[in-house]
């Protein structure tokens, strides 16, 4: 079957198979992406990140339902960690989303990180594109539970929601660099727990120090109790407001141009890397170069310079 064509015709099985083809780097993966690419760029891509157990999946479930109430179709890419030892993974985000499974307007795909360290899986961006081409209006990317520095989500999503919970640390945590810098919107989930107001104050202080006074968008902080569906509608409207603001100020174009640039560079680096590596391993040159460098008869910088001079004339 022509998978790309079937995806565009609305086949859910093809959508699923296309993601597998790309994730496992099947021979037809590039061809599928080529055909789908012209149909991408229409969906609102919403990133959801935060520490493990903050309620990302539950919040995603509730937000997705609310988008469905508003007539939007939804795609969800949920990322969980792959074991660095066995290569296996437990992908458990669907547990919180079981009610969405039989809604035909929702498609959920779980992905293991497979060695990627930035909070996403290696092929998250491609899975999002495939869902986008399929015609999903809103696509959620739920990251793995993050610590402080897994910030790849910023380059993958239009709007990034950082979900926090009370009780994880004192106010010095709030001035560190990392995930707290990437929120376009913050949610304090489990807001019925002690410490929610304190966290609210600390986040506000952090945002004040950012010099947000002069910015067009000061990240709003919303309180939610996801499992009781409290604060979800307000949060959703804030997320949409941010997206509208991105569009009206031209920032959406800026962000997406940046994304396209990175995408292009990544593919280019990959292809050139593979090409060059293929050539030098084929000729048996590579092992010799490694030995030379190891024996300090040559240095890696000169070696690379020479390879490039030879190959890219």
């Amino acid at each position: 079957m022509d998978i790309a064509k079937e995806v565009l015709n609305g086949s859910r099985l093809a959508l699923s198979r296309a993601i597998t083809a790309v994730e496992n780097e099947h021979d037809d993966a590039v061809d599928i992406m080529k055909k789908l690419y012209p149909h991408t760029g229409r969906a609102f891509v919403l990133g959801i990140t935060g520490p493990p157990g903050a309620g990302k999946s539950t919040l995603t479930d509730k937000l997705a339902k609310e988008f469905r109430n508003r007539g939007k179709t939804v795609g969800i890419v949920a990322v969980d960690p792959t074991s660095p030892f066995s290569g296996g993974a437990i992908l458990g985000d669907r547990i919180r989303m079981n009610e969405l499974t039989l809604d035909e307007g929702v498609f959920i795909r779980s992905m293991g990180t497979r060695g990627s360290l930035g909070g996403l899986s290696r092929k998250t961006a491609e899975a999002v594109k495939i869902m986008d081409a399929f015609g999903k209006d809103v696509i959620f990317i739920e990251t793995v539970g993050v610590g402080q520095s897994e910030v790849d989500i910023v380059s993958a999503a239009d709007t990034t929601l950082v979900v926090l919970v009370p009780g994880l640390g004192d106010d010095i945590q709030a001035i560190k660099a990392g995930i707290l810098e990437i929120g376009d919107v913050f949610a304090i989930n489990k807001a019925d727990r002690e410490g929610a107001d304190k966290l609210n104050i600390e986040l506000n202080m952090m945002l004040d120090l950012d010099g947000n006074m002069n910015k067009q968008w000061r990240p709003p902080i919303k309180q939610t109790i996801a499992h009781q569906n409290e604060g979800v509608i307000e949060l959703l409207e804030t997320l949409e407001e941010h997206y509208e603001q991105l569009k009206s100020t031209g920032q959406l174009t800026t962000r997406r141009t940046e994304r396209t640039k990175n995408e292009l560079l990544n593919i280019l680096k990959n292809e050139i890397g593979n090409y060059v590596l293929g050539k030098i391993t084929e000729s048996g040159q590579f092992d010799k170069l490694v030995k030379d460098v190891e024996g300090r008869m040559d240095d890696p910088y000169s070696v690379v310079n020479n390879i490039i001079k030879d190959m890219l004339k």
Binding site: R12, T82, S83, L91, R94, N98, T101, I108
Partner: protein
Amino acid sequence: MEKRVRVLVAKPGLDGHDRGAKVVARALRDAGFEVIYTGLRQTPEQIAEAALQEDVNVIAMSILSGAHPHLFPKVVNLVKEKGMDDVLIIGGGVIPDSDIPALKAAGLAEVFTPGTTTSAIVEFIKANVK
């Protein structure tokens, strides 16, 4: 080209005991499989649809309630109806030996009863997954 076996672990029906399913899920993870764990009280429709969305190679179900003669074959049929012909479907739980031939005839590749080691399940999947 990378091949990574994806397994849906599900608990169809109404019994609320998932310790066994969790132990199996963990063993499959340690064997290098990607395990999609969907939790308790799944309908056959939910299991089949989750299997489609996740494009799994294997569906592993556990039932302790006695509803296996009804629920296991139903999942097999729904999965086929969705056009997924190459999925390995296995079951486990408190299942009388006398029920097993009928379940296999209905399309279950294997049925694992109490006392099975997790490595036997892993080996079976490795040997039979398409």
